[in-house]
Amino acid sequence: MFLSKLREALICLKAGRVTLDYPLAPQEPKPGFRGKITIDADLCFGCGGCANVCPANVIVLSDTEQHRRTIEFYWRRCTYCGRCEEVCPEKAIRLSQQFETATNDPQDMYMRLEVFMGPCQRCGRCFPPPTALDRMMNTGFREGPRGGRA
């Protein structure tokens, strides 16, 4: 009885400071943390896979013009599930480590990307716009011995 009380007192002597210094000192989240979504505008080709799987309908596609597809992210209601990152074929959309997203203006929780789709020169309909490979071809890169893709 007495000894256990003594031991408790000794534990109190040994205990150091546990409080984080957080808002005054920066703090990194652990790896694997899913924070605010970011999109790499170079990589996205407007397939709409992310919009299909998003459970909170954060991602809204609209074809505003014939060769312009607007992807809007109303990420104020994002649930950070990571499904969009999982399905994106180009890994354009990613969940960053940023968690300091508090704001006083709801418009700050909005992101928009305009993707230019390539229209077919014959029929005028859109096809997925140049991928990274097509861009390399535009600038003179040729694949295969005969040039061009077979």
């Binding site: 209601r77 994002c78 929780m109 992101m111």
Partner: protein
């Protein structure tokens, strides 16, 4: 002068009242976490009170359900002015997965005025602390509206392979 006095008073002690308006309890656990010694919000004078009549700050978590809407309106009236309202979690900021469901109002700001939004599902305790520190003016704001645009085919043909990154607002 009253405003200046309020600013000064708010810097010292924020008494918060926490209201669950249909949250899944994830956000509530994180709010409780902020009050533990590990995060220790009391060093900023933040204290949880049991009645809205004692509170300066209202923490709201959850997409406001239809049943809780009248109670929430009365709750906001019960908090004496000047007051601050925080929407905690994706549910309270924008409705979360349930933003267009029949039984929720889709976010706290569709029912009552909200001053600060803390997105996250649930937000980390650090994120909540950051939001409070933002309200106290201790840290700068780090998010802004983003508008990105890819180059057109014509621009590509002219060799302009730069992405136009225009931001309507810069982070404060």
């Amino acid at each position: 002068m009253l405003r200046a006095l309020c600013r000064k008073a708010f810097c010292k002690a924020l008494w918060v009242y926490h209201a669950n308006t249909g949250a899944c309890n994830g956000c509530d656990i994180e709010v409780i976490n902020v009050l533990t010694p590990y995060y220790d919000a009391e060093r900023f004078g933040i204290k949880l009170v049991g009645s809205p009549r004692h509170a300066d700050v209202l923490l709201i978590s959850g997409p406001v359900t239809r049943q809780v809407t009248p109670a929430l309106k009365r709750l906001v009236e019960a908090v004496p002015n000047p007051k601050l309202t925080f929407a905690i979690g994706s549910c309270a900021t924008g409705g979360g997965c349930w933003f267009d469901t029949y039984n929720v109002q889709g976010g706290a700001d569709s029912v009552i005025p909200v001053d600060f939004y803390i997105p996250g599902c649930p937000p980390r305790p650090e994120a909540i602390l950051y939001g409070v520190a933002l309200a106290l003016g201790l840290v700068p704001k780090k998010v802004a509206e983003e508008k990105l645009r890819q180059e057109t085919l014509e621009e590509l043909a002219q060799g302009k392979c730069v992405i136009n990154r225009e931001s309507s607002k810069t982070a404060l």
